[in-house]
């Protein structure tokens, strides 16, 4: 009798503790997810009551040239951002994984950009990459490159955003890799050395496989974030010049909040969601085959 009462009160206490959080997540998490789904089948300008339009939004999406353009740019951006930041950060992490003077300072230097907000970073680069007075063209000119149009050039704009965001986020990847590198068991490297492996062989056969899980994580995480690029585009180029930096989230934001086409915007958002989900699953599936660590 007493036991049953005690257990019953465990349920009550559990729900009391978790209740507020769960309620908030329901209201601001689960409900919007479901509502979003519904909204994608409707026509709404966010003010008047929405009208149900069935699969119209999705049908339009298949033909919409702006959607295609935005998707192309988003994929191009992701295709550049992910490999550059993941591979680059590995190299930097290896360089930082040693006991040399000033290593603390170097570490700090790599990580400070991560702390700067997307807007602050964009602001800095807006000035740095100014095509007329910016420092970038000056420095590049010294080594015989440029001058570049950066954000003013339809050709350079997207790549400039890649450079800017790699700068801003590489520190995050470096930390993850550093943590993984520090976890390599010393004995494994010793065993490989005794087996006759030179430094490059140790790197290829022991360290790189060990970094498999971290690499997979970084690829997935970077991809998910890259596909949702928004802040920098909004602040620096507003999708331009001439739509050369028009990306998906920017498109759907404009649709919903500038043009009042919220239903369709939600449909795009859902397509993006599904794309991210599928990409993540594919990446994990490939990862399972290539990465052979069970911890």
């Amino acid at each position: 009798m007493r036991i049953r009462r005690a257990l019953a009160s465990d349920h009550a206490i559990g729900w009391t503790f978790a209740g507020p959080a769960v309620l908030l997540v329901i209201v601001f998490g689960l409900v919007p997810i479901a509502w979003s789904f519904l909204l994608s089948f409707q026509r709404s300008n966010l003010i008047a009551p929405p009208r149900f339009t069935g699969l119209d939004n999705y049908r339009y999406l298949l033909k919409d040239p702006t959607f295609r353009e935005a998707a192309r740019h988003t994929l191009l951006y992701t295709g550049l951002f992910v490999p550059i930041s993941v591979v680059g950060s590995l190299f930097v992490a290896i360089a930082l994984n040693r006991k040399i003077w000033f290593v603390r300072f170097y570490r700090l230097a790599v990580f400070v950009p991560v702390v700067a907000s997307t807007i602050a970073t964009s602001f800095m680069f807006l000035w740095l990459f100014d095509s007329t007075y910016g420092l970038a063209n000056f420095v590049l000119g010294k080594v015989g490159l440029g001058p570049f149009g950066f954000f003013d050039s339809t050709h350079d704009a997207l790549y400039s955003i890649v450079a800017m965001t790699v700068w801003g986020w590489i520190g995050f990847d470096v930390i993850i890799y550093l943590a993984a590198l520090q976890g390599v068991p010393r004995e494994l490297i010793e065993a490989a050395e005794i087996d006759g492996a030179g430094r490059w062989s140790v790197f290829r056969n022991i360290i790189v496989p060990w970094l498999g899980p971290a690499t997979l994580l970084l690829i997935v995480w970077s991809s998910i974030n890259a596909l949702q690029l928004f802040d920098e585009v909004y602040f620096v180029t507003h999708g331009g010049p001439l739509h050369s930096t028009y990306v998906l989230v920017f498109y759907l934001f404009t649709l919903a909040f500038t043009q009042g086409v919220a239903g369709y915007a939600t449909a795009i958002a859902y397509v993006l969601f599904v794309a991210i989900l599928i990409l993540t699953i594919i990446q994990f599936w490939i990862g399972k085959k290539v990465v052979h660590y069970s911890s």
Binding site: E187, E190, A191, A192, I194, D195, A197, P209, H292
Partner: protein
């Protein structure tokens, strides 16, 4: 195959600790040498210096006819089995075994052949496609050994390879190791803290303590003629009983025990008697009387723990957490190995005697054995 020599090898770490102190040791080609001692005695450091995983502060290590002080581990042609096996987790057993050979660019047929042979020898044929995570402890240990042996190295180094196995498996693997060595005849250095393992496996054992070599010899020799107090207390289970004693005019007196040994100089000594040296004495011939406290029957013999007249002494080989404190005052706790027919029980007073030639004497100050 080659012999191995430590020539006045010393290792001092950056913080100032001297891990290995002037170690000189010669290992014959094909010999199975054991380095044994308590943790921190320097045995693992000595092994790692042979492997090249630690640099040598002073002295030389010679393998065959080559001084290998500055040679990097990969060029020394030695192989090592780590305590935690250090198997490459992402490679199959076959790839683990083949790794060393692939690094040396051996031709594929030879790699396959040697891997096959080793797998056969160690019973690993069925496991070749598995990964370390899927293997049991004993299987991993065999893979670790296989990986080392497949390269037919000049020296085979083992760092407490049996410590992580459960007791029964350990005994089986001990025999396996001995069989392997007899078959392959590779110069082997085996490091362990378990003196039973040392005694059963080694051709010769090197007892170490606090970085220094205490004694070198074959197991029986080290057991029967310990060079100092530490070796006497370390080798043998249950450990040798130690009593404080005094020598005066060729006569040793330690508590109740008295032995004539005319060659000894006067002075303070520590007297040691192994548990099996105590015998039940018929009336009149007893040297001492044991007040029985605890009896541990082992079937073919019985271990009797109790106290006799005398002052206890330490050998220096005791574990820090000594379970039963030595009794103070005029009685010393000892252990005796007796025939079970005596049927001793707690509280009994057993008359015991010791054959005089089985009494060990050590200098109380230096610990050296005195004859």
């Amino acid at each position: 195959m080659a012999g191995l020599t430590f020539d006045h090898v010393t290792k001092t770490f950056a913080q100032g600790t001297v891990a290995v102190n002037d170690l000189s040791l010669q290992i014959a080609e094909g010999e199975f040498m054991i380095l044994v001692g308590p943790s921190g005695c320097g045995k693992t450091t000595a092994l790692r210096m042979v492997a090249g995983l630690e640099s040598i502060t002073s002295g030389r290590i010679v393998i065959g006819d080559r001084v290998i002080n500055d040679v990097s581990p990969r060029d020394r042609d030695i192989a090592m089995v780590f305590q935690n096996y250090a198997l490459y987790p992402h490679m199959t057993v076959a790839k683990n075994l083949a790794f060393g050979l692939r690094q040396r660019k051996a031709p594929k047929e030879e790699i396959d052949r040697r891997v096959g042979e080793i797998a056969d020898m160690l019973g690993l044929e069925g496991l070749l496609k598995r990964r370390p995570a899927e293997l049991s402890g004993g299987q991993r240990q065999r893979v670790a050994m296989g990986r080392a042996l497949v390269r037919e190295p000049k020296a085979f180094l083992l760092d407490e390879p049996l410590s992580n196995l459960d007791a029964k498996l350990r005994v089986a693997m001990r025999a396996e190791l001995k069989r392997l060595h007899q078959r392959l005849e590779i110069t082997t250095i085996h490091v362990t803290h378990d003196q039973v393992e040392a005694m059963t496996l080694g051709d010769r054992i090197a007892v170490m303590n606090e970085g220094a070599l205490q004694q070198l010899g074959d197991p029986q020799e080290v057991y029967d003629r310990p060079a100092n107090l530490f070796v006497a207390g370390f080798i043998g289970s249950p450990p040798m009983n130690m009593l404080r004693g005094v020598v005066s005019r060729g006569r040793i007196e330690a508590g109740d025990l008295a032995v004539e040994r005319p060659s000894l100089p006067d002075g303070e000594v520590v007297v040691g008697v192994r548990p099996e040296a105590f015998l039940i004495a018929p009336d009149g011939a007893a040297s001492t009387e044991l007040t029985v406290e605890i009896v541990e029957p082992l079937g073919d013999e019985v271990l009797v723990h109790g106290s006799i007249g005398g002052e206890p002494a330490r050998s220096g080989a005791e574990l820090d957490e000594e379970l039963l404190p030595l009794e103070r005052g005029s009685r010393a706790r000892i252990t005796a190995r007796l025939d079970p027919s005596a049927r001793p029980s707690p509280g009994d007073r057993l008359p015991l005697r010791v054959a005089p030639e089985r009494v060990y004497v050590f200098d109380a100050r230096t610990g050296t054995a005195l004859t």
